[in-house]
């Protein structure tokens, strides 16, 4: 029976890619292991090999096609004795239907749509207020990945003492391709591949900061920063205080944080609440590309150690970024993405995707949510949250991290202490579930916070 060859997912977070080149043509016989095509993602170009043997019956997606969704049929493989005539009606149709289906999902109420839906075809809700840049500022579309790279490159051009070190940051161009091109521009002295030795190179980074440099230490993911926790907390965060202000560690620890997709318990933890607790550290966890850019530039210039929590799923998402010479965003200033009078939704990082989606759905039902992106967790702009809660009298917080000792738990504590009389309902904290991250796709989806849970929480606090 003819087999469909499907567009492969080449990384845990890949949602679509470009079918760059076919290396086989219709009628070619292939056996398992033969290279069929080159697939390009935003991170890399990869070769795609045949799993089964047979004859290429029909190529369904032309080479050069961009935005081919994962699992779309791209060709049909015939077994012995079959001809191309056997396939047309039977095989290509379901593939078509499948891709229609995935578009339809983004507007239905199933929580299946919360995570896996492609960034494209889904416009991010526009903020009602944009305090970060004046009207008329020229804008460009950029991915979070590009924004981060540009931020680092601009700061490295500006200050020779800034350098980047970490695993695979130089010759490999970054495990997640954040440092793409930096080695070429700045050379091996300033873009440094380290051995896999987080505790050691984090400590060397801190020592280099004591010695007058401005290191950017990349952790391939923050899960591995656990190995370096002592150097981050005891050496980087506390030295300014312990030295009576004589020396400190002006540096950035950065890397992806939180769940990616299907990488299991040890690679899927949100450390926001952990780092947020430490005096001496600053902590950023941005959502949009403009904030990634502006906050990274501020982080590199900051005379203190900064924890910069990125998100792998957001790396490939595009946003408007001001196309200006030197765009920075200050720490400690939240951004109101959407004004509303019925409820305040507070989130940060990837949590903002659920918050904004929920706000859209709620608007359809006549509930106007004010959505606040904290952007930095330390310092935290609780002032903006409190002012909003005083207006809406209700609050829901959204994050992917665990419930006990959560960021939301802290925020609800602040609201209770500072604005108790304004509350018309208890604050609800929407968080990831209190479990290690499971691997199975369905379990993982339920382990994370969902848009539906946010919608439900808002209805609960608004008594609808």
């Amino acid at each position: 029976m003819a087999t469909e060859i499907l567009m492969p997912a080449l990384s845990p977070t890949m949602e679509e890619g470009t079918l760059a080149k076919w290396l086989v043509k219709e009628g070619d016989e292939v056996s398992s292991g033969d290279i069929l095509a080159e697939i390009e993602t935003d991170k890399a170009t990869m070769e795609f090999e045949a799993v089964d043997e047979g004859t290429i019956g029909k190529i369904l997606i032309e080479e050069g096609t961009e935005g081919v969704k994962v699992n779309t049929a791209i060709a049909v493989l015939l077994e012995e004795g079959e001809t191309a005539d056997d396939i047309d009606s039977a095989k290509s149709a379901p593939a078509q239907a499948k891709s229609d289906d995935s578009d339809a999902k983004s507007s239905d109420d199933s929580d299946d749509s919360d995570r896996a839906t492609p960034a494209e075809g889904k416009k991010q809700p526009q903020p009602d207020t944009s305090p970060d840049w004046p009207e008329g500022t020229p804008m460009k579309q950029q991915t979070v990945r590009e924004a981060l790279r540009d931020a680092m490159a601009e700061e490295m051009r500006r200050d020779n003492d800034v350098f980047l070190m970490g695993e695979e940051v130089a010759e490999y161009q970054g495990a997640y391709k954040i440092s793409q091109g930096l080695l070429d521009e700045f050379g091996a002295k300033r873009v440094i591949d380290t051995p896999i030795t987080e505790h050691g190179f984090a400590g060397i980074g801190v020592g280099a900061a004591f010695g007058g440099l401005r290191p950017i230490v990349e952790f391939m993911t923050f899960n591995f920063a656990m190995q370096a926790m002592d150097q981050i907390i005891n050496s980087a965060a506390k030295t300014l205080y312990m030295s009576g202000g004589q020396m400190g560690a002006p540096m950035v620890f950065r890397g992806p944080n939180g769940a990616a997709a299907r990488v299991g318990a040890q690679h899927s933890q949100d450390y926001a609440a952990w780092f947020m607790q430490i005096p001496g550290l600053k902590v950023a966890m941005p959502y949009s590309a403009s904030d990634y850019k502006g906050l990274m530039k501020s982080a590199i210039r900051d005379p203190n150690p900064v924890i910069f929590l990125e998100n792998e799923i957001l790396y490939g998402r595009s946003f408007d970024v001001p196309d200006v010479e030197d765009y920075t965003v200050p720490f400690g200033k939240a951004r109101i993405w959407r004004e509303g009078s019925d409820v305040t939704i507070v989130s940060f990082g990837i949590g903002m995707t659920y918050a904004l989606e929920a706000a859209e759905k709620l608007a359809e039902e006549g509930i106007e949510a004010e959505v606040i992106d904290l952007r930095t967790l330390r310092p935290m702009d609780t002032d903006t949250v409190l002012k909003s809660v005083m207006k809406t009298n209700r609050c829901v917080t959204v994050e992917e991290g665990w419930p006990q000792g959560s960021v939301g738990g802290y925020i609800s504590g602040v609201i209770m202490q500072e604005a108790f009389d304004y509350l018309d309902a208890p604050v609800i904290t929407c968080t990831g579930k209190d479990v290690p991250m499971p691997y199975a796709a369905n379990l993982e989806k339920h382990a994370l916070v969902t848009t539906d849970e946010v919608v439900k929480a808002v209805k609960q606090v608004t008594y609808r």
């Binding site: 505790h199 050691g200 060397i204 004591f210 010695g211 007058g212 020396m247 005379p303």
Partner: protein
């Protein structure tokens, strides 16, 4: 291999020998005073004395040049005095007073001096090892010809981050001298009971880092080895000195020292004391008279007593200090 000793007839001037005598004596008298103040309740928390190990820092400081850096563990009073930090400021930090190097906020284990290129004073065993390599990394990046003395103990030598650091220091040829102050006891556990290798410096061989063992009770031997290490580090990257020394006092003030006999300590004091050794050289070489040395003793006593007075009289930090130095508004400038 036996630890290297200095040549039998050292070619040193009276002036040089006298300065070693003076510097080692300052550390010893300072530490004895600190022990007293601890007993009086004026110093709190942990207090790790350096008595017995004086020749290590004094010998190595003699091999250092202006601008070279040093970083060490929590047993740090000797290092600070040897690199020229003010005894008043060190003692006042021990008593937690405003006049201390960290305004009373660091304590015995956490003191720093940008001016003297002393980068702490670190309380977590072996954490200073990658930090020291990082300081050397900064010097290499700036191409300023400086080296960093990274001190740690035989106990710290069993921490994983030491070997992570050895690997990168060798890979990148960092100008760092790893000084293992082997005082034979990791708190209460003897080297024999904690460490698989008899010669810790030989572990560097696995990384291609050269090194040697040095008699740490002989200040001249330490200086000689230090000069060799410094020359190597400035040109060719890391070097290891395993300096065999001995601490007379407990691990900290609260150590009952049941893990070794009183006789063992007394034997070391009687036969190997580094200060007595220099005293003998001075007298036997006719470089100094008993009266000369008495004058030095008197002078040191005065400095130490003054530091104790300063440390008692300096006020406790203002309560506002609780809230300062948590975040910098600008990067502190290099001295």
């Amino acid at each position: 291999m036996a630890a290297k000793k200095s040549s039998k007839k050292p070619n040193v001037s009276a002036e040089e020998l006298t300065s070693y005598y003076r510097d080692m004596l300052l550390i010893r008298r300072f530490e004895e005073k600190a022990g007293q103040l601890y007993g009086m309740g004026l110093i709190g928390g942990f207090c790790h004395l350096y008595i017995g190990q004086e020749a290590v820092v004094v010998g190595l400081e003699a091999a250092a040049e202006e601008g070279d850096k040093r970083v060490t563990s929590y047993r740090d009073h000797g290092h600070m005095l040897a690199c020229g930090m003010d005894p008043n400021g060190v003692m006042a930090e021990l008593t937690g007073r405003e006049g201390g190097y960290s305004k009373g906020k660091g304590g015995s284990m956490h003191m720093f001096s940008k001016e003297k290129h002393f980068y702490g004073g670190h309380g977590i065993v072996a954490a200073q090892v990658p930090l020291g390599a990082g300081l050397a990394f900064a010097d290499q990046y700036k191409d300023n010809g400086r080296v960093t003395f990274t001190y740690f103990g035989d106990g710290a030598a069993n921490q994983g981050q030491v070997y992570e650091t050895f690997n990168m220091a060798a890979l990148w040829k960092l100008p760092v001298i790893f000084v293992i102050e082997n005082n034979q006891y990791a708190m209460g556990t003897s080297q024999q009971r904690s460490t698989s290798s008899a010669e810790i410096w030989e572990r560097g061989k696995a990384f291609g880092i050269p090194g040697e063992a040095v008699d740490g009770m002989d200040v001249l031997a330490v200086k000689e080895a230090g000069q060799k290490a410094v020359a190597h580090a400035r040109k060719d990257g890391p070097y290891i000195l395993e300096i065999k020394t001995y601490r007379y006092r407990g691990h900290s003030m609260s150590d009952p020292a049941k893990y070794r006999t009183r006789e063992e300590v007394q034997k070391m004091r009687d036969e190997r004391d580094p200060i007595e050794a220099v005293r003998t050289l001075l007298l036997e070489g006719n470089h100094a008279t008993e009266d000369d040395l008495k004058a030095i003793d008197k002078e040191i006593k005065k400095v130490v007593n003054e530091s104790a007075d300063f440390a008692k009289e300096s006020p406790e930090p203002h309560l506002d200090e609780l809230w300062t130095d948590i975040y910098a508004t600008e990067v502190p400038q290099e001295a």
